[in-house]
Symmetry: C2
Subunit: 626 residues, 2 copies
């Protein structure tokens, strides 16, 4: 954490200085977010970091969520929480998924036997764990980030969106009218530059654009319950997939706190027009089914904290914004949807909350960049492109997964097929397989060989490094915060210790002095040199073999009102702590590499250290000179 | 973290359910703590965990500390913070001391040259780092623990202690009278069973007992300042000890936040009756001296966040409670002092705050055990014995350190002597060398060979293990929370996988069934089986080779209102993560070992697994049957 840059200030450094006008709830805003779910809160937390952007977030309910349905938090989401600054809180309270066990009928077809047991998150998939935590707690952490922001942003509860219309107002072209549920007959109108609908599967924002979720509901009924129970099933504190001979399947997900367990329980197939609600499912039915599947193990449920019955459906919306494909060249979007408003799927793969948060983490920095005048509005088109592709892929994955899960394994071979599929998709469910296609903000695949393990369009995969200034071993990826900045991570080539004329020095000279440099071109006058594009370097030498005083000035920039030196830009391998980052991420040790990291932690480009022209061209494609 | 034991409850699990009477500030209490420094707050946080104990804590100042003088937090203190549940907050905000560099004049006697650079915390000294953080933030974290406790305990500010007297009241024999600084002429009287003076070097509580600090002030004047500065000295973000040729010494301690630096600067010797205040030291003088010492490096101070001048003194109080040695057999103490009230020393070794917190961490569980009827009042005698010995040792250490620091190195050999001393005492300053003598609560040295690395009377040195129930890799030491419980950590011998008749099983049978078992004898009827003595086992087998269902029932106890199973008692080595705990801590692999861990994380005893009689005898020495 860096603070005290502009002078010493006592108190909690995660609480920003409040803006004077932060108490207001303006009727005219830059961004209006409809819905306080994971998608809405991720966006609100992201936007609240920027003093110059006014945001409001509304919610139909009367207060914060207390018990949520979602609970699985993928490694990738924790990486994102780290960028927001609350990963450690989630890791402290949550259950960590370390292993998955698979159970099926014994060889004689009776009873249950443990068929396999696998590591849940493969080695070096992420520096973060896969955890389980009540969605409501994730909301709490976002709300805290918002409350601590310069805006002291808080949701407006009891606001039901009744209409959303476009007007001719060039600045604030969207008008939203809300019914105030806490004041009879009263309405509130908010005019916004951008509106983002994070208002769930029945999204009013989506309907206002005339879009619909498309797809089909599977006819399989499932039950889910969070219970406090006593059992002699030995794997009750492991994630366990159990396929019984005659009573269907159950998925056990241990919950946070050491005692609670979530069970996904297979119920019957639905017929004709039947809906989940028609079956009059009760928690007793779920418990009875769970007992039958777990037999011969006992299950004595002491308390049902929450339960529900649902049918699996995979549906996705064709468009994630208000611009038809044919008109994309002419205008840019002002209304977006995210999360369940544009894709719904089954909960068992634990993707719902994670993909929803990833939607708005993708959108947030883009909206901020356009609103702050840093980027061209065309950047906003990439949201729909990137996230719609992801949603479609997710729907396909979920359909396969759900089918396999419900398929009764007629023999060991079929049961093993399920296990294989489950294993294979560990990377996918961890959220680290998302790959954005080449676009304005993902460069062409010309130099990937210089950093084979930092794939274009995929998240910047962290690894341990040693910070030169204070010899601290840390994760390089954790230098990327949710602050809207781009990062240039320059990996030094052979024999480059930062000396004058070396690859890193030449790159720094270009970035610092050339009129073509994106740092020079896009950093506002008077702002810190790293406020738009943050340059960091990783050397191959041991940290005690490098001389801080010989490093290029750009890597030790003077910042803030007092012109203090930032000592946190230069890194070396952490050789004592396993393989070095150069080997882990396949960096060309001879030539080095320049990796451009987007504000949402995705790799925007991989270039040779001396490809200054391509570097400039990349940024010129979407940035806006101030 | 374990929660939801008695049913699901939404919200922050670190906030306990409030007691009904928690709003009151009673005039009659179990414990009255005078002073809101690190010692007082550690004690208040510890006691606030127990619903049945009423505590008040008073402070002369009008509110919480905003800027503190102390900043160094030893590894051992972070281990303790982990037990309180806020280690991760400290680690997030703080500067981590990773290396120490030593500078001295160049070979020609001019300039400065880096003579050495060493790792600050040696490998496997602690699982926790050595960090630097403003004392005020540590206070904040304690205050939060208190606020979240069942008592919702808050300090009473503006209370100046004016008198402390003993009365004949058998229940509440100490009467304290306070001047209310926020209400002119008003006083408040509090009657207490126990009073703990954490009221600093000028302690009124100490004076009320007629005790005094003894020792001598050295005549060396030092200055200290926290600055935001620009410099070309390359090790400004490392802890650096600099001895100049002609201008004395400086110790640089980088501070949290990435920019601020603390400097301890040698000034002149004091003469005759001269005091630090007589010298009219100014911050400009400190800056000038620092510049002279750092020459030829530049130092441009932009902001002085805090500064002070002091003379080094080592003083200690002969007695830490109100019972003269001659009367110890007849009565037990009711008044205690802790922290600066009983020992003062120089700040440079970073021991002040750490030793003060350790004082009351030692006292807190003892007071709680006696007040809850779990232990005999004689237990309270061990506080003075254990902590006075520690204070004396600290004073000696500090005197040596201060002398060496001020000594002008006349040649390279002398400079090297300083470095050697500094290195050698890294373990000491980390706080992990504290060793309590054999006593009521530290057993005799008969079986230490069974666990060579878990020394009697020293803190239980943690190591990584895998928890059997959920396959989570974690620190074994982190199972010891600041909850007043004793722990029995049973390390299994060869071929013991928990099977019936094995060493662990036999121990568990004794503990669960024998009338001589301390678990049976000292656990109140109706309370959870682990509420007084918490039994855990560590096996040698890989976790996938153990069967949970074959473990002794005591290791899978039914707990709480619902009789839920606690799955967090059984551990295995974490072989993937370095050397195994059995090797790291020198556990006898053939015989195993039983390690008794005190509520303050110190090793109370090491015994053979089958030494049930010695086990019973140990607890019978100080526990009280209910």
């Amino acid at each position: 954490m860096q603070y005290h840059l502009n002078g010493f200030r006592s108190g909690d450094p995660s609480i920003a200085e409040a803006l004077v006008a932060s108490e207001q709830t303006p009727g005219v805003v830059d961004v209006l977010i409809v819905g306080c779910g994971p998608a809405g809160l991720t966006l609100a937390a992201q936007l609240s970091a920027f003093p110059e952007i006014t945001t409001r977030i509304t919610e139909r309910k009367s207060g914060p969520l207390e018990v949520g349905q979602a609970d699985g938090i993928a490694c990738r989401s924790i990486e994102m929480f780290e960028a927001f600054g609350f990963a450690e809180k989630v890791m402290k309270e949550s259950y960590w998924v370390n292993e998955v066990s698979f159970w099926r009928p014994g060889l004689d077809g009776a009873g249950l036997t443990r068929a396999d047991r696998i590591q849940d998150v493969e080695d070096d998939l992420s520096e973060m764990p896969h955890v389980i935590l009540n969605q409501a707690r994730v909301h709490d952490f976002y709300l805290e980030i918002m409350r601590n922001s310069p805006h002291r942003l808080q949701p407006d509860y009891n606001r039901e969106l009744v209409s959303l219309t476009k007007t001719d107002d060039p600045d604030h072209p969207v008008t939203a009218v809300f019914k105030c549920l806490d004041a009879k007959g009263q309405t509130e109108t908010i005019r916004a530059r951008y509106v983002v609908g994070c208002d769930g599967a029945r999204s009013t924002v989506r309907k206002s654009m005339g879009h619909a979720l498309k797809g089909e509901a599977a006819r399989q009924l499932w039950g889910v319950m969070d219970v406090l129970a006593v059992t002699d099933f030995p794997d009750i504190r492991l994630k366990a997939a159990i396929q019984s001979a005659d009573h269907g399947s159950i998925l056990i997900i241990p919950r946070e706190g050491g005692y609670m367990v979530r069970m996904y329980i297979e119920l019957d197939e639905l017929h004709g027009d039947e809906r989940a609600a028609d079956r009059d499912v009760t928690s007793e039915m779920l418990i009875d089914n769970a007992r039958a599947i777990l037999d011969p193990y006992s299950l004595d449920v002491k308390d049902v904290a929450w339960w529900s019955a649902y049918e699996i459906g995979q549906r996705v919306c064709d468009a994630f914004d208000d611009v038809p494909e044919a008109e994309r060249a002419d205008r840019t979007p002002h209304i977006f949807i995210a999360g369940d408003a544009c894709h719904t799927h089954s909960p068992k793969a634990g993707q719902g909350m994670n993909v929803s948060m990833a939607d708005t983490y993708n959108l947030g920095w883009k909206l901020a960049a356009v609103l702050r005048g840093q980027a061209l509005p065309a950047l906003l088109n990439t949201y729909s492109d990137e996230r719609r592709a992801k949603a479609k892929e997710l729907i396909d994955f979920d359909r396969d997964m759900a089918r396999l899960f419900s398929a009764k394994p007629r023999n060991a071979a079929e049961a093993e097929q399920f296990q294989r599929y489950f294993k294979k998709h560990g990377r996918y469910t961890a959220g680290v397989e998302t790959r954005y296609e080449s676009s304005l903000i993902v460069g062409p695949n010309d130099h990937q060989h210089l950093a084979k393990g930092l794939k274009l369009g995929m998240r910047f995969h962290s690894a341990a490094v040693t910070r030169l200034g204070d010899a601290r071993v840390m994760q390089l990826g954790h230098t990327v915060k949710a602050d809207g900045r781009w990062r240039l991570v320059a990996f030094a080539g052979k024999n480059d210790n930062g000396q004058t004329g070396g690859g890193i020095d030449k790159l720094c000279s270009f970035l610092q002095d050339s009129p073509d440099s994106p740092v020079i071109r896009y950093t506002p006058k008077g702002a810190d040199i790293d406020s738009v594009i943050d340059v960091r370097a990783v050397f191959q030498s041991h940290h005690r073999d490098l001389a801080l005083e010989e490093m290029p000035k750009l890597l030790l920039p003077a910042k803030g009102k007092l012109g203090l030196t930032d000592y946190e830009k230069i890194f070396c391998p952490a050789s004592k702590h396993g393989p070095e980052i150069f080997d882990l991420r396949g960096i060309d040790r001879r030539l080095g590499a320049l990796v451009i990291v987007r504000p949402d932690q995705y790799v925007g480009h991989v270039l040779p250290l001396d490809a200054t022209e391509e570097l400039a061209t990349f940024f010129d494609g979407f940035m806006s000179a101030t």
